[in-house]
């Protein structure tokens, strides 16, 4: 049976969105005895100047944290998952030389495609 938590001040993390469409970013924390006051205090400390369009207020104790480097920075090669893993400069130069064509330049009827792709 869960025990009823005695009210005490605890930290609530505040995430804020500066303008519509922006990501939520960590702003800081407030101490509060319950979620309702945490909301008021978050508004005051991170929104009283109309500087935010949205706030998320989360009890710090409720936040799950993952920072195990084995999970997030595992040692074996994963370059096939990143654009930087595909360097083609030499191959392209080789192919162009073989076909006798210089590198195409953006001009009428042409647009510059995605960088590298």
């Amino acid at each position: 049976m869960p025990t009823r938590r005695k009210p005490h001040l605890e930290p609530y993390e505040v995430f804020r969105q500066e303008k519509d469409g922006d990501p939520m970013r960590h702003g800081g924390s407030v101490m509060a005895p319950d979620p309702e006051l945490a909301l008021h205090y978050a508004r005051e400390l991170y929104g009283r100047r109309q500087e935010s369009t949205r706030l998320w207020i989360v009890r710090r104790a409720d936040i799950g944290v993952l920072d195990d480097p084995d999970w997030l920075q595992p040692p074996l090669d994963r370059s096939f998952k990143k654009p930087g893993g595909y360097v083609m400069r030499e191959k392209l130069d080789q192919a162009r030389a073989r076909s006798g064509q210089a590198k195409r330049v953006a001009g009428a009827g042409r647009s510059k495609g995605p960088e590298g792709g």
Binding site: V30, M31, E36, H40, Y41, R43, E44, L45
Partner: protein
Amino acid sequence: MTLDHGLDPQVREGLEGLLLAMADDEFVIGYWDSEWTGIAPLLEEDVAMSSIAQDEIGHARAFYSLLGELNGRDPDAIAYDRPPDAFRHCRLVDHPRTDWAFTIARRYLYETADAVRLAALADSTFVPLAGLVAKIRREETYHLAHAEGWLRRLAEARPEGRTRLVAALRVLAPDAATVFTPLAGEPDLVAAGILERPSAALADEWRLGLQPLFDELRLPIPGPAADPSTGRTAHGDGFRWLWGEFTAVRNLDPVATW
């Protein structure tokens, strides 16, 4: 600059009285609430109460400005350049800040009364007032939520929070309904559609509105105002002290620019 607004002189006089009363209510309660800045029970709460006080002064400023458009006076001059007895705030807000329970009790009584008053002005035929009221009501939702939250918290905090809260409500009871002190010229305002209903009806509505929460928390609902004829004219020593404070610098030179 005085704006005519095409008002009948009697209606205009009544309207000026209404605006002054509302401006003074917000001004005085804003001052008392602003005293908590720097000394509230919790740092986070300090910031919250200060915002509420600033909102109240902001509302007062808006009402003084609207009044100034009618009588041609500068809002700061209206607010600051008169003796204490010329103030028309209600006795509910005349009391000093006292302690946290008193502040919360008084805030709750005032906010709920003001909500009823503002609702009765939301469709005012005096368009600038209706416009201002619409903006103020949006800010007031925050104040009401904060006041109600604290009323509950104190009412449920046995024994000390509750004891202090009940004691504060008892002291405030004879003055709570003074927000609805009938104004001179009120019948003209109602007839002109500037104010939707007379103050007496609003007072009843307010009291009914308090019932659900006060019954739930088993708090005493305030009755009619004691001595209603002086509801906006009898000012105590606490207010006179406050008047001394807020005029201290200005009275060094009322015509100078500060």
